[in-house]
């Protein structure tokens, strides 16, 4: 900083040079701190030849010239453009050579968008916590509304889109249209009032909120907390049709049905007359075919019944019983033979085992068994005496004999 300017004295008068005065004011300004200033960016001048970028900050009825180092300005994301609402951080400075007062900015932030989105997000959270977006709250749309309530801007393209599309689909559709400011201060209140008026009309079966596309700020009214609450309170189903498909103001979330655009809303609120007619015709044809099918089925069933043996051949039931009787009689005839065979096999088995164990085979080779009177087998000649009676068992039959000689 330069040395403090000193005035020249003329008598009792201290007089500063212009440079001295400007320097003094500049020094004084330099001692002030940095501040944030909010305003609309305009008259933006930036060229690569200048080290500084020049612009104006505007307010209602006030203007402030400003500058910023080009390098610093180029780093701001997204790049500011004229018309942006911004917060600029810096301080006043005096350009001494020209005596011009300027705002020297060190930082610039786009204020409008971020701040607005944050505010909308806060309202969204609050309404979500209260359950205003819950699926259970959603009212179903009527199949064919008697009267469609439409809230839109005066003479708006959105109004034409809704009315023309709906009429093309269903020529008999009727509208009660309430025009309201859909942008700017007071829009939210105007739309809310229009909505309430239509909801109070018992003839209105569905309400459409329509507005063409616009910037986030333009659509701000449709994220208004009061309007969202009014939509939630409506007893009439509400369809929101705000902006383009990608826009999503809060009213879209709280409405019973969200239509991306006004013409989509029209498609949702009235059925396509031609399509419904065709559908009805198809249903009728299906019903006819179904009836025909049933008759054919019943006739075939009857034919089958008549063709069954009981009808075709009245004697059939006797024939069947006779066949069964014959079967039983055949079984009866087989039974004794089977039983005899089984018993014969059983007996043969017992006998085979008996022969295996008994002496029959030995006896058949010519051996004999001698037993005394008591039946004991005689193994030793000394066991009997001359004249004693013995029994002799042969392969077949037995002999009664008397001992005539003993040779021990």
């Amino acid at each position: 900083m330069n040395a403090k300017p000193t005035p020249t004295t003329y008598g009792d008068r201290a007089v500063y040079t212009v440079a001295g005065f400007n320097q003094g004011v500049a020094d004084w300004l330099g001692r002030l701190g940095n501040v944030w200033v909010e305003g609309e960016l305009s008259e933006l001048k930036r060229t690569d030849r200048w080290g500084l970028v020049y612009f104006c900050l505007k307010d209602d009825g006030a203007i402030l010239q400003g500058s910023m180092q080009r390098e610093r300005f180029d780093k701001i994301q997204p790049p500011p453009v004229a018309g942006d609402r911004v917060h600029a951080f810096g301080r006043g400075e005096l350009w001494q050579r020209k005596g011009e007062f300027r705002f020297r900015a060190y930082a610039i932030e786009q204020f409008g968008l971020g701040q607005l989105l944050r505010r909308i997000e806060e309202v969204r959270l609050r309404l979500a916590q209260e359950g205003l977006f819950a699926a259970e709250r959603k009212l179903p749309l009527p199949f064919l509304p008697g009267l469609v309530g439409l809230v839109c801007g005066s003479d708006a393209a959105a109004k034409r889109d809704v009315v023309e599309t709906a009429t093309a689909r269903h020529p008999a559709v009727r509208f009660r249209i309430v025009e309201a400011a859909v942008q700017g201060a007071g829009a939210a209140a105007a739309v809310t009032a229009a909505l309430r008026a239509l909801d109070a009309d018992p003839a209105v079966d569905v309400i459409v909120l329509a507005r063409g596309g616009g910037s986030v700020e333009d659509l701000l009214a449709f994220s208004d907390e009061g309007l969202c609450r009014a939509v939630a309170e409506c007893r009439t189903p509400v369809v929101s049709a705000i902006g383009h498909e990608q826009d999503m103001p809060l009213v879209d979330v709280v409405a019973d049905v969200r239509a991306g655009t006004p013409s989509l809303a029209a498609k949702l609120i009235v059925p396509d007359h031609a399509a419904v007619g065709a559908e009805l015709d198809a249903l009728l044809a299906r019903a006819g075919r179904a009836l025909e099918g049933r008759a054919t089925h019943a006739r075939r069933h009857l034919q089958l019944l008549v063709a069954r043996p009981a009808f075709a051949d009245p004697h059939s039931w006797i024939t069947a019983r006779r066949a069964r009787l014959d079967g039983a009689s055949a079984s009866l005839r087989r039974l004794p033979g089977l039983r005899l065979e089984r018993e014969t096999a059983r007996l043969r088995n017992a006998h085979d085992r008996l022969r295996l164990l008994g002496p029959a085979a030995t006896l058949e080779r010519g051996y004999a068994i001698v037993q005394d009177d008591a039946g004991a087998v005689v193994r030793d000649a000394a066991g009997v005496t001359v004249g004693e009676r013995v029994g002799v068992r042969l392969a077949t039959g037995r002999l009664g004999a008397r001992v005539e000689e003993v040779q021990p």
Partner: protein, 70 residues
């Protein structure tokens, strides 16, 4: 023969005798006696089976004759 054991009694006794002999716990004298009795029972059963078979055959023949004459 009519006063003798029934076919089933005779058959059961025969099978008992066979089992006893198979056990091998009998003396030779007993075994001879059991075997002799077994052969006797076998002959008895055999005769009764033959008789039954003859009766069945006779009955079937008579039924067939009746069926042939309508």
């Amino acid at each position: 023969m009519s006063a003798g054991p029934s076919f089933e009694q005779a058959r059961d006794e025969l099978e008992q005798i066979v089992r006893k002999l198979e056990d091998g716990n009998t003396t030779l004298d007993e075994a001879i006696g059991l075997w002799e009795r077994g052969e006797q029972l076998h002959a008895l059963c055999r005769a009764q089976l033959d008789q039954a078979e003859a009766r069945v055959a006779e009955l079937l023949r008579r039924m067939d004759d009746a069926a042939d004459k309508p």
